[in-house]
Symmetry: C2
Subunit: 157 residues, 2 copies
């Protein structure tokens, strides 16, 4: 049983300008979470949290998510060892998105494909619009087959 | 009419490991967009894009979003002047989230409340779990009333 209580959302002023923590989950019960490397500022992943994942993240100081692919609570790093320790957590103006600055154990990777960041490809813009994606990381930090074995790939078409 | 075509999603390998741009929009037609300051790495906001907003962002090199509160396409900065110029755009492994590194015109603010970042409050974690939110920016970079006048506040309870 959690000792933390979320506040009821009573007014725009309360949500935006007070110190009340009154997060808003979407119709699917989830809230998006931006996770960045606390040292480099690189965005590692965009995850999703249900109420339980958010409470566990706050209480333990380790990132927990809700896996939309597997529909289960997910303690990041439980399989791979690449636990994300929360250095700072921030909530946005209308309290429907969270930002975690984390330090990652081990190799520092956060992406199930094996890259450091899930955002390992650039989308060309402006005068380069329409060109193919461009890879930004030239090698994987771990071998997903060795780490995850035959756990199903979470990517859904 | 756009000159850019998104690719059809055919396999996990194509989506994760190829240079094909095959973004996946949610059931509501939207894709989350993380926007960070290209210089400082600070997360400025989490926005949402429909297909049109994503195409316009890529073609113009300026961030466009879809406002969920107003249900309209939104050229960021059209009212405030605080246009976000895209320095780099990245897509994630399963191509259902985008990350924009931007430089912001004018005062550099991106938050309708008047702060630089929408994430101006920290959520205490671990041994501090349950304490009130903590403000991280001590002053607003602009006066929202002067900039937006009586445009309705987008925050929804």
């Amino acid at each position: 049983m959690s000792t933390i209580e979320f506040q009821a959302r009573q007014s725009v002023e309360q949500v935006e300008e007070s110190t009340d923590f009154a997060p808003k989950f979407g119709p699917d019960g989830l809230l998006p979470c931006i996770t960045t490397d606390a040292d480099t500022g690189e965005v590692l992943m965009l995850g999703w949290m249900n109420k339980e994942a958010l409470l566990l993240t706050i209480e333990t100081g380790e990132a927990h998510y809700f896996s939309r692919a597997r529909q289960v609570l997910w303690h990041k790093g439980a399989t791979s060892g690449l636990v994300q320790k929360v250095v700072e957590a921030r909530i946005d103006d209308d309290q429907d998105a969270i930002w975690l600055r984390v330090s990652v154990a081990g190799s520092g990777a956060s992406c199930h494909v094996g890259y450091r960041s899930c955002f390992y490809r650039a989308v060309p813009v402006a005068e380069d619009a329409g060109k193919p994606l461009k890879f930004l990381e030239d090698q994987k930090t771990f071998n997903p087959v060795e780490v995850y074995g035959d756990v199903p790939n979470p990517t859904q078409l």
